[in-house]
Symmetry: C2
Subunit: 508 residues, 2 copies
């Protein structure tokens, strides 16, 4: 119902209607008795907030629709959805990895291997054949936990990444990382006084899911002055404060590389975090979906929490999430991902299996996307050179855009931006004048939402205000993705807007 505004509600010919029935207008006359009102719904639903697709995103869709009209009168000719890490969206057009799509096309219609053999590299044909033998049709439900063969491949990928064993029976393929996070939170919240430690700023999936399942978010702040560092001391303070409030901290969410911050943890900090989980019997929920989006891998490498838990021989229960939506894969629309359980009992694994079985199975398109991501072509394979070239291009472009954006945002008055070494985002702080804050108040908006709305209406660039991710009182930020074609033009628009905003409202 949102983002789809048809000029007439019923544009289709109704001449095919067989009997004299009612029009939409007369239907409306029958609406007064409505059992389905917001007051009658689960009150938790009303508390859910998800800014990434909230007011700004809805307005952006409206503007995108308006752009299609003649004489739209808007001061821009395209909407750039920097509110969401969606690399392949229209306007950004990051091309998919050819290998992934060739395998998927053959899985959709295996006859193509005979009908058009020259269209496909040999290793692609072999890969699709191997997958088909294991899976059968991708139109069939798979094992609820995901195709066993693909889970074996994921386990091998994890073993090669970390140097420790991984058990395919402890891996669950999912419809993107979000589905896994939501499931685990729904299982962990045992009482309305059960809480989960959430970084601030956070990715709002966590608070939204906690609201849905009546859990308590226990915020801990990341330190912007230390490049968004995670402090064990800060988390311990949050646990103890929660305890004083009668809230029991059950799990710790760590997003590494960070969203929206782009920060990367070093192993020393990771070890302290695992020890903290052990001390307080916290389940560690490690959101590692940006693990391959590294802009400075030499100085800022990624280590998985699985490796750290194994290094420490820690008994900490760890659930680590990965996804095909990010990285260089960017296959958001397939809905694919997985989570691996470490130090989780067979009994709890059986309960997780039962819960996922109610949803039958993750989408097969997402499952084969996972397989392509964790088993890319190897040197010597016919597909390798193209794969290498495509992925290098994506890595380089992201690194370049992230660097350029941060540099130039830092050059603006009242703006400071941590130079993120990972993920897809920047999270600049904007200092706003009293006049701007006053204008926001008049408009009934948070000051950063006010700034973001003006940005959208002036430039067509849609970002998410910091209030959606969390920030300290009196601070204002926004998150923008580092995905855009033509970074100079894009940043130029941001700069011009900001300068105009400062001219209108003064500097802080």
């Amino acid at each position: 119902m949102i983002g789809l505004r048809r000029k007439s509600p019923f544009p289709y010919s109704l001449s095919s209607i067989l009997s004299p029935r009612i029009s939409s207008t007369s239907l409306r006359a029958f609406l007064p008795m409505r059992p389905l009102t917001s007051e009658s719904l689960n009150p938790s639903v009303l508390n859910v907030q998800y800014a990434v697709r909230g007011e700004l995103a809805i307005k952006a869709e409206d503007l995108r629709a308006k752009l299609k009209e003649d004489n739209h009168g808007l001061p821009f000719d395209k909407v750039i959805s920097s509110n969401i890490g969606n690399p392949q969206q229209k306007g950004l057009d990051q091309p998919p990895i050819t290998f992934t799509r060739q395998v998927a096309a053959l899985m959709e219609w295996p006859a193509l291997a005979e009908l058009a053999p020259d269209a496909f590299p040999k290793d692609v044909i072999a890969r699709a054949k191997e997958l088909s033998e294991e899976i059968g049709s991708i139109g069939a439900y798979s094992h609820s936990q995901g195709v066993p063969f693909i889970r074996q491949n994921v386990a091998k990928f994890i073993e090669e990444r970390d140097g420790y064993p991984s058990n395919p029976d402890h891996i669950f393929l999912t419809a993107g990382a979000s589905a896994g996070v939501s499931l685990l939170i729904s299982m962990l919240i045992s009482t309305p006084k059960a809480g989960i430690l959430i970084p601030i700023p956070q990715y709002p999936l966590y608070t939204a899911t906690l609201a849905q399942y009546n859990g308590v978010p226990i915020p801990y702040h990341l330190d912007e002055t230390m490049d968004w560092a995670t402090s064990v001391h800060e988390i311990e303070g949050a646990i103890e404060k929660a305890h004083r409030d009668g809230v029991h901290a059950k799990a710790l969410v760590i997003i590494n590389p960070g969203n929206p911050t782009g920060a990367l943890l070093d192993e020393e900090t990771q070890k302290k975090l695992v020890e903290l989980c052990q001390k307080y019997s916290l389940v560690l929920l490690a959101d590692e979906v940006y693990q391959t989006n590294l802009h400075k891998p030499d100085t800022h490498p990624f280590s998985s929490f699985k490796k750290i838990v194994c290094d420490l021989q820690s008994p900490t229960a760890l659930i680590s999430f990965h996804s095909i939506s990010k990285g260089i894969s960017g296959e958001c629309g397939r809905r694919g991902g997985y989570f691996e359980c470490t130090n989780v009992s067979e009994e709890v694994l059986a309960l997780i299996y039962k819960m996922v079985s109610v949803g039958l199975c993750p989408p097969l398109g997402g499952q084969i996307g996972v397989d392509s991501m964790i088993r890319p072509p190897k040197p010597g394979d016919e597909s390798y050179d193209l794969w290498k070239q495509e992925t290098d291009t994506i890595h380089d472009a992201l690194r370049h855009r992230t660097h350029t954006m941060a540099e130039r945002l830092n050059g603006l008055p009242g703006v400071t931006c941590v130079k993120s070494p990972g993920a897809l985002y920047l999270y600049p702080q904007i200092r706003l004048s009293d006049k701007a804050i006053e204008a926001a108040k008049k408009a009934g908006k948070e000051p950063d939402a006010f700034y973001a709305l003006e940005l959208l209406h002036e430039t067509g660039i849609c970002v998410v205000p910091g209030s959606g991710f969390g920030q300290k009182d009196g601070e204002w930020h926004y998150r923008l993705t580092c995905l855009c074609p033509g970074v100079d033009e894009y940043v130029g628009k941001l700069e011009k807007f900001h300068q105009g905003f400062v001219e209108r409202y003064g500097s802080a």
Copy 2:
């Protein structure tokens, strides 16, 4: 962890392991302190039951794995998973509709239209081009409610089916019907005393989801002696009984055509049901995923509840669910479906949108599957003849198998089976002797589960015991799908097993 038994937990070469780290055995030594135990989880999770993928299905997977061993010693050479309506699964091998897969292959890798133009019919190429222009990459997130263009097509399909307007803004594309049902139930359960009327027998998604969200299932029985008819009187009795128990009935679930019963409602009954919903302010949840699986369409046609609500000009809030997993599409693995909201306020629609936005979007593979299902080739299109032939074959085979199975099951001593006019299942009643019931009790099983387990171990046929769907006290049933290759051989196995069972335990 289930259905995947590797001979060694870590078959991969660990020679690539870089440093002296721990083995899986030493990991186990660190397991004593585990914060993640079943006692610490959300207690609702423990109450969830989903028999379709429960004990029988898990045992069937184990047997399937065992069959791969040399000298497995089992008295059958294949496992037939009649526990789940999964037409394209291995062993059943109902072929996908070529049109659907050709469109999907082109969406995966659009370059194929140039690389192998002769491999595709012209209407397929045109369709994929049209979809690509609307969607862009299927690797991008779509609108959270589903691609607007596809929702417009769904609305048109509904208008043509029912003769009434349909608003694409009131349609939500989903990851299969299950995802939509689960969402709506999670939103409707506002207190632990909120209940939902569920047919008995039911598809266990409903009770599983109610258990998960702490809602009360309010059972109403279908009448087996009247071919599983739905009685308004029976439902009214259930509402009033619930009311006496302090439970507030908020919604009525109707599965039409029925699962597991295969029964079809006539319009007269449907009208009474809509009036009942109006009288008691119930939201009508109409599970209509089998709407095209009709075996006797002349005498038992399908009418949608949307049509009935419009015929009556009723203000009843209706959510109707459809899916690509069933019908002749059988595309379970894509995870695609939709629900349409009728007489639902903009305010509640906005809340539904907010909830689906947290999950980002339904899988694009499922969304384009919906489009292919509701916009099949038309007479005159290059693809039409093949599509017609394929779908006729599937309809005919299903009709034939359903008829043959019911006839022959009815010929067995102690077995009666309603001849289902719709859906994919039969739900025979089996009368069991005291000796059989005693043997089941000794084995710690429900008598029908005991029967089904013996059936599985003797024939490799996996069915679901009636206790998973609900039945009257002292009655026993099982559900089997009408999907199998070689119906004579299949029913022959059922007959032989049943006769042996009666010889062993006597007749009731």
